[in-house]
């Protein structure tokens, strides 16, 4: 890391000066660019490859109060073997108390277990509780932690608080990978999305993630575009690569493919692997499987030919 970036978080003032010194984002222009990339036409062989790639990038997620061991086990089975010869997904994402169930269910498959933590989804608790929440999930065997930032602190300008929390949670993660959820639907402006992205990366995030899935809008194309620009620029500046995970609202194969186009034409091909790009979703997987089947056979099968888990 260059010295200038090492000192960025020396104080609230330096951090603020750095984040506010990033180039602005023009909303109209960013929306237009994302919309233009959304018109890319991905057909035939390219579509087949994109569908398999997208499946391999899915973080198959269930984050409901009603989640049970049975529900998580069933989802894990699907994650390991989505059916029809499709590749396994990248990870399953569950609440901390269900991590042991997921760990057991995916053992030996290569599917990772991700857990949300830090008083998900609002992030409204003390740092101690957040760290304890993280440590609990890690001790239970989580490979990846999806933390939320304190949006209240961010919006009130207390960037140092957000930074220090991420640093503390990162320390609690140990070997586990840290994904930092920005909850862009609450940050609202694209300038904020860019600043929060840099803030998370400076604090040590392995991944930056758009949303919890509990707030609308979630992963819009322009927001993902801006985060992809941020990881690209961060690597240029520091040499460290950070992953991106749009999550929430990605339901169709079309949406997934638009995301892959965005990755390819913004951050570049280096990010087009499950190590560096994930799609947080639940219902998306079945649509990908349905389109996969359609490409292979030329016919659409009814929804009952795809399992609901």
């Amino acid at each position: 890391m260059t010295t200038s970036l090492a000192d960025v978080a020396a104080s609230g003032a330096t951090l603020r000066a750095f984040l506010h010194g990033l180039p602005g984002v023009d909303r109209v222009g960013a929306d237009q660019r994302a919309a233009m990339l959304g018109t890319r036409s991905i057909k035939t062989t390219a579509k087949a490859r994109a569908i398999d790639l997208a499946i391999s990038m899915v973080d198959l997620t269930t984050l409901e109060g009603a989640d049970t061991r049975g529900k998580v086990r069933a989802m894990c089975v699907k994650a390991v073997r989505p059916g029809g010869g499709a590749p396994r997904v990248a990870a399953v994402c569950v609440y901390p108390d269900l991590v042991p169930v997921a760990v057991e269910a995916v053992a030996g498959s290569g599917v990772k277990v991700a857990s949300v933590a830090t008083a998900f989804p609002s992030g409204r608790s003390s740092l101690d509780v957040k760290v304890a929440d993280t440590a609990f999930a890690v001790a239970a065997g989580a490979d990846e932690i999806d933390m939320v930032i304190d949006r209240g602190a961010f919006l009130s300008g207390d960037y140092l608080k957000v930074y220090e929390e991420i640093v503390a949670v990162k320390a609690a993660c140990g070997e586990a990978h840290l994904k930092v959820i920005l909850e862009t639907g609450e940050l609202v402006t694209y300038d904020n999305v860019r600043r929060a992205s840099w803030l998370a990366m400076l604090a040590g995030a392995d991944f930056i993630k758009t949303s919890t899935g509990k707030v609308s809008p979630a992963a819009t194309l322009p927001v993902t575009l801006i985060m992809l620009e941020a990881v690209r620029d961060f690597r240029d500046r520091t040499g460290r690569q950070v992953g991106v995970k749009p999550a929430g609202g990605i339901r169709t194969t079309k949406d997934a493919i638009k995301n892959l186009v965005l990755v390819q034409e913004t951050a570049g091909a280096d990010w087009l692997t499950p190590d560096w790009f994930r799609l947080g979703a639940s219902s998306l997987l079945n649509d990908l499987l349905m389109q996969r089947e359609k490409l292979a056979t030329g016919r659409y099968a009814g929804p009952d030919y795809f399992t609901l888990d």
């Binding site: 180039p23 023009d26 890319r40």
Partner: protein, 472 residues
């Protein structure tokens, strides 16, 4: 990395005829000049033979327009509006057909003809249809001029037709239009559409041909108004021809626009704006942002980002839906772009293009940028009308204005900064018909368009565009 598989738009929708005649008095007729071929610039394949209008044919067309003028101008505005609305709707219904034909004949990517040209064409007809019965509120009177002779270029064939025909008809004029010799096909399909809309015979006449046909249209004594879009060189000839005749003239000519990027600009969007400014339509745009003026303090960062972005541009088959850069419209234009680029190199500017494979057949030129360009270089002075960007630097806002204005042209300019007050300060000082702020190449039928200095005179589009077609 995943390669995009070819995604070609089907040609099937276009019903190409082996030969096309002139459209005079509501009928397709033979031309008495030697027929010429129009080719697909992406493949050099001949698309069709097109009739060439001699001076006699032009005379027939002007007489047909004259004969139709009384009836057309005598209609209540609300009735003329109905025809224009009908034409606009048919254009929307047949948009895909028109877009494919435009890309075939012109070489522009289908993404642009589909998403930019055609929606704007329809929007122009809708917009001026709305004016037809409200002329008394526009402030230029309600008296049409008579027969309008219109000569349009090859870069936006159908869109330039719409810019010319829609306001002329809305105001009660009749027209004789000459499309460019390399791109006559969509104008001829428009002739068919005007029949489909049951436009009275003679209201729109289309005469195809080269420079001589255009000269005959301009010089015809019964033409009351001349509207031309094209090169400054031809614009001068036209101004000379009509001087002293009492004909009203509007000229929309060349440009050498500055796209000015300040150090506080939204960099990623500025890069998109620069790309759009110069590589949209292969740079065949009179208002193209062909001079990038970048503040010296962000030059390095901006150029690195720009070069990286150019590496993602997809050049190739114009009918492929993923193509960003299509073919150069003609061998002649390609030769001009080549020779000016060579001049750039030999005068000492540094040339750069991304790795980019050019198809073997057809007319192609890679996206190119020149750095280290000075105001005195040929490529900073002359309009290249191709995908070639000259990069210059400035230190202060005043210097940016001085350099931007230091050109015989004055059609457009772009300003990129997050500071609102600076945008207004710049816009007041830039001598350009259009100043875009944090965007580029944005068009709307409600917005007037036109130039200062050698970029021409008169305005097209918006309320201002009515003035050119009314006897003020």
């Amino acid at each position: 990395m995943f390669e995009y598989a070819p995604a070609p738009e089907s040609r099937e929708i276009v019903d190409l005829r082996p030969s096309y005649g002139l459209f005079i008095d509501g009928e397709f007729t033979e031309g008495s000049g030697p027929a010429f071929k129009t080719v697909n610039p992406a493949t050099e394949e001949t698309l069709a033979e097109v009739a060439c209008a001699s001076a006699d044919d032009v005379d027939r067309a002007v007489r047909a327009a004259r004969k139709a003028f009384g009836g057309w101008s005598g209609l209540p505005g609300s009735e003329r509006a109905k025809y224009l609305f009908r034409i606009a709707r048919i254009i929307q219904e047949r948009a895909r057909e028109l877009a494919v034909l435009e890309s075939l004949d012109n070489g522009k990517p289908i993404r642009e003809s589909r998403d930019v040209d055609l929606p704007l064409v329809a929007a122009h007809f809708f917009y001026y249809a709305g004016w037809a019965d409200k002329l008394q509120y526009a402030g230029f009177g309600t008296k049409p001029l008579g027969v309008a002779g219109q000569v349009i270029p090859w870069n936006f064939p159908l869109l330039m037709l719409a810019w010319k025909v829609a306001p002329a008809l809305a105001c009660g004029n009749t027209v004789v239009l000459k499309p460019a010799e390399t791109t006559p096909l969509t104008a001829l399909l428009f002739a068919e559409i005007s029949r489909q809309a049951e436009l009275p015979p003679g209201v729109v006449n289309i005469v195809t041909g080269a420079g001589e046909t255009g000269a005959a249209v301009v010089a015809h004594p019964e033409v009351d108004k001349v509207a031309f879009t094209g090169s400054t060189e031809v614009g001068r000839l036209i101004a000379r021809t009509v001087a002293g005749t009492g004909k009203k003239v509007t000229l929309e000519l060349g440009g050498k626009a500055a796209n000015i990027v300040f150090d506080d600009a939204p960099i990623d969007q500025a890069v998109e704006g620069i790309v759009n400014g110069i590589f949209f339509n292969q740079g065949h745009v009179c208002c193209a942002g062909s001079r990038l003026l970048v503040q010296e303090s962000v030059q390095e960062e901006l150029l690195a980002a720009l070069k990286r972005r150019l590496g993602t541009l997809r050049l190739g088959d114009p009918l492929d839906k993923n193509t960003d850069i299509g073919a150069i419209n003609s061998a002649e234009q390609l030769a001009r772009i080549r020779s000016l680029s060579e001049a750039g190199e030999s005068e000492g500017a540094e040339r750069w293009s991304p790795a980019c494979e050019l198809p073997e057949r057809g007319f192609w030129f890679p996206p190119t940028l020149f750095t280290g360009v000075a105001q005195s270089h040929t490529i900073a002075r002359e309009e290249i009308f191709g995908p070639v960007l000259s990069v210059l630097t400035f230190r202060t806002p005043a210097e940016a204005v001085e350099k931007a204005n230091n050109t015989p042209y004055g059609l457009s300019a772009g300003v990129w900064t997050e500071k609102g007050s600076r945008i207004l300060w710049m816009a007041e000082r830039l001598r350009a018909g259009v100043v875009w702020a944090n965007t580029f190449n944005k068009f709307d039928p409600a917005s007037p368009f036109g130039g200062y200095k050698e970029s021409g005179y008169g305005r097209e589009g918006g309320l201002h565009g009515l003035e050119a077609y009314l006897d003020v």
